[in-house]
């Protein structure tokens, strides 16, 4: 290590109330390396990297950028010094176009008027050279998740940063897109950029990282310098990250249960018939053109497809956010095509949404309220909410999903990304645990959660099916679908083009997705 670190964090501490988010951790980012930062949900990864990016000021510890202290500790100063960050949550204004979003903070003017055309030419050139093509002239609200992520990357790379911090850039991406982003990170490192990469996908670490730091409870519990064979050892990294090698939830285990002779009669719980949906302005991506699917009680069905082939429209139509133009949706034999979300939920719909911000979590509400949103009645007597009851269900989630911190009154937005996802999961799987769910609609259910929690969530989905629900899983993780599903339907161009058994090789599913 003759080189000097591009960013050096030393003895960092950051507390929030009782929580020690970062508790004496350090991190050195060197030019030319991809440095992976891994660890369980709530370990302090985002907090530590936000400190590097000047977004949060530490309570204690030093932040050096190229040997000089970062002062003042602001994002502006960090960017000026060449540190760019892509956050775990999108930082885009949905009503502005991609180009306008990129112009925020610089706002080029001519004669006092906003003048975006030179910027547009610049950005387009950059996008082409990095192969990060995004439509720049549509409001961000209408972009797909993958396009939004590319836009965030473009913004971070606008000023040729020396340090690039990527906080779970691949969590929301389909495998092909994820590989493209990671490949880009590798390229940049080769050109001398220092890259920090947070991820829960340990196979990505094995393939793309040069160096690994493992965090747990705000402390560095392991550090693997370049060349350390541990970097390629997914099992070992998992042990270090979450304290154990998580079990694989495989359908074989499930089959043992499902194929027992006392399996209930094939009662159809969800029937979708010739469904046509226009995505409209809702950012639902591409339309649905005549989809028919049937799910029986106890079945887990996966939906695979290249992003932008109708998955999002399917999710929003089944949940009731988007109206259907043609066709029908029936839950337990009752037509619910024109029925509100609330009524569908009364008939047994549980929905784990892909857009957590829009449909899952209200940042400023206390976590225990988020956990019982829409079901306060169940914890109330004569219209008065029993907070002790809310706390009990929170304690249940803490136990079942290792939700952290154990602070029912903390605002949901103050939980780490993975723990926010656990809040949604706990809420939506409550009904199915009591055998009341008819359909569990799970869109990217393990997005952003650590490997152990991912295993727990997969198990819970399988359990929901065992308890009588039909489970529809939309996921870009084909291994996840192969592990827990009874069959996988492939969406292409808004229609079902194939229905495959779960032991279909990934390459074959991939071919079906591309056509």
């Amino acid at each position: 290590m003759t080189d000097t670190a591009a960013v050096l964090l030393d003895g960092i501490e950051k507390r929030y109330g009782q929580t020690r988010a970062v508790d004496g951790a350090g991190l050195a980012l060197f030019p030319g390396r991809v440095h992976a930062v891994v660890g369980e949900n709530g370990a302090g990864k985002s907090t530590l990297l936000k400190i590097a990016g000047g977004v949060i000021a530490p309570d204690r510890g030093r932040v050096l950028v190229l040997d000089r202290e970062l002062r003042p500790a602001t994002p502006r100063e960090a960017i000026r010094r060449g540190v760019a960050m892509v956050h775990q949550h999108f930082m885009l204004v949905p009503t502005l176009t991609g180009l306008e979003n990129l112009a925020l903070g610089e706002e080029p003017t001519r004669l006092g008027m906003l003048h975006l055309s030179p910027l547009a030419a610049d950005v387009e050139r950059l996008a082409r050279s990095l192969r990060l093509e995004v439509p720049l002239d549509v409001p961000v609200a209408r972009l797909s998740i993958g396009e939004r992520q590319r836009l965030e990357l473009l913004r971070a790379l606008r000023h040729a940063p020396k340090v690039l911090i990527l906080d779970e850039p691949t969590a929301v991406l389909a495998p092909a897109e994820a590989r493209a982003v990671l490949g880009l990170a590798r390229d940049l490192a080769t050109r001398g950029v220092a890259v920090a990469l947070v991820t829960h996908h340990l196979d990505e670490v094995a393939e793309f990282a040069d160096e690994v730091t493992v965090l747990r409870r705000g402390k560095v519990v392991a550090h693997h310098p370049p060349g350390d064979p541990a970097i390629g050892d997914v099992g070992r990294l998992a042990c270090e990250a979450v304290g154990e090698e998580p079990p694989v939830v495989a359908r074989h285990a499930r089959r043992g249960v499902a194929r027992e002779p006392h399996v209930r009669h094939e009662r159809v719980r969800l029937r979708v018939d010739d469904l046509h949906v226009d995505p409209g302005e809702a950012g639902a991506g591409s339309p649905l053109r005549g989809v028919s699917i049937e799910l029986a009680q106890g079945e887990v069905v996966g939906v695979a497809g290249v992003e932008g082939n109708g998955q999002h429209a399917l999710e929003l139509a089944l949940s009731g956010v988007l109206p259907s133009r043609r066709g029908t949706i029936a839950l337990d034999g009752a037509d619910v095509t024109r029925v509100t979300i609330a009524d569908r939920r009364r008939r047994g719909l549980a929905w784990i949404p892909s857009d957590r911000h829009a449909h899952g979590i209200a940042d400023e509400l206390p976590a225990r309220d988020v956990l019982l949103l829409g079901a306060f009645d169940e914890a109330a007597r004569r219209g008065v909410v029993d907070d002790a009851e809310l706390d009990r269900s929170f304690a249940g989630a803490v136990k079942a999903l290792d939700l952290r911190p154990d602070a029912p009154e903390l605002a949901a937005g103050s939980f780490s990304g993975g723990n926010q996802q656990k809040l949604v999961i706990a809420r939506e799987l409550r009904a199915s645990r009591e055998g009341r769910a008819a359909l569990v609609l799970a869109a990217h259910p393990t997005r952003g959660v650590d490997v152990r929690a991912a295993a727990t969530i997969r198990r819970s989905l399988v359990d929901a099916a065992r308890d009588g629900a039909a489970v529809l899983v939309i996921s870009s993780d084909l291994d996840e679908l192969r592990d827990i599903c009874d069959r996988i339907v492939v969406l292409r161009g808004g229609a079902v083009v194939a229905t495959l058994p779960p032991d279909t090789p990934v390459s074959v599913i991939g071919e079906a997705m591309l056509g």
């Binding site: 602001t74 956010v321 609330a342 939920r345 829009a358 899952g360 309220d369 829409g374 079901a375 008065v384």
Partner: protein
């Protein structure tokens, strides 16, 4: 978990300091001495029993209008229509109250007229909620429009027969329909409606925190798309909350018509709806805070009258506007100061 509260307290102190400076500068600019103006302002309000009573009287309506605003804000809605609800309710209470038999007992008249005030207020703001929930029309626009309609309607109805012959107000209420004045504040308009105001403010804080209704409304205020997605009846709650807010605003008639004038007239409580909104914005979600800001605005309003001979009372209005501004920006200033400390 103490940090936000400490920050808020600091911000309020900072705002108070800035407002005081602004007041002094304004008074100096007028060529008066801030010290003696303040002394006179105090003498005209808390300095005498009459002055204190007038402050309490004004604070009563501001607190009710403030509660109306606070209720709607909980759901993330701006109740601009309170002003209209107050005007229409006042006329209804005046007109119906005047038709009660001369010998009517308070046991009948008070609850009856309170019911009239609340239901007319609720009915008046109901369309605002329906327009918002069913057609997506913004409640601020509908509020402004319905306020205009209310003003015109009250004038029209008074001119078309609700007013007493040869006057601009309704016939006087029978004695049994007027509220009891507060003994310790002789000569002032302070009356028992103040207890209704306190009860409403405290009750709302309880409802908002403890009931299913209140928690759902808070969820809608935090995110309406998430609330909708989790099955909360967002539209129905929005309609309910705007009607409830109108009902509370309507209760101002108890103070102004039954407690003070004894009849209804055009423009009787005009402006209170907006002062209440300002009080609610300053108070945030706190009930004690709302009662305090109501007293504060009432003091300034009554104090403005007492210093009017030396400086124009509009200066007080300017200070009130500055207070709101400072309270809005003080948390940011506090944050900035904090950042510099750390850097």
């Amino acid at each position: 978990m103490n940090a936000p509260r400490a920050a808020r307290t600091r911000a309020i102190l900072l705002a108070a300091l800035l407002s005081a400076i602004a007041f002094e500068l304004a008074v100096l600019a007028w060529g008066e001495s801030p010290g003696s103006i303040l002394a006179q302002l105090f003498a005209g309000t808390w300095g005498t029993r009459f002055g204190a009573g007038q402050v309490l009287f004004k604070a009563t309506s501001i607190a009710l209008a403030g509660a109306a605003a606070q209720i709607a804000l909980r759901a993330g809605l701006f109740q601009i229509g309170a002003e209209g609800a107050i005007a229409v309710s006042a006329l209804a209470v005046g007109a119906i109250g005047a038709r009660l038999p001369a010998s009517v007992s308070p046991i009948v008249a008070w609850p009856l007229l309170a019911l009239v005030a609340a239901s007319v207020g609720a009915l008046w703001t109901l369309p605002i909620g329906v327009l918002r929930a069913r057609f997506g029309a913004h409640e601020v626009i509908s509020g402004i429009m319905t306020n205009k309609i209310a003003g015109a309607l009250v004038g029209y109805l008074l001119a078309r027969g609700l007013a007493e012959r040869a006057s601009v107000h309704t016939a006087p209420l029978p004695p049994g329909a007027t509220l009891v004045r507060l003994g310790p504040f002789p000569g002032s308009a302070a009356n028992v409606a103040i207890f209704v105001a306190i009860a409403v403010v405290v009750a709302w804080a309880w409802i908002a925190r403890r009931t299913v209704f209140g928690r759902e409304v808070s969820a809608i205020g935090a995110s309406d798309t998430v609330s909708l997605a989790t099955g909360i009846a967002v539209g129905r709650r929005q309609i309910e909350i705007l009607a409830l807010s109108g009902a509370v605003a309507g209760l101002c008639a108890l103070n102004d018509v039954m407690g003070y004038k004894g009849y209804a007239e055009e423009g009787l409580s005009s402006g209170v709806g907006f002062t209440g909104l300002a009080a609610a914005l300053l108070a945030g979600r706190s009930s004690v805070g709302l009662l305090a800001t109501a007293l504060f605005f009432a003091t300034l309003s009554q104090g403005g009258l007492s210093i009017n001979a030396r400086i124009p009372m509009e200066i007080v209005d300017v200070v009130v506007a500055l207070v709101i501004l400072f309270v809005a920006v003080a948390p940011r200033i506090d944050e900035k100061l904090g950042e510099e400390d750390r850097a």
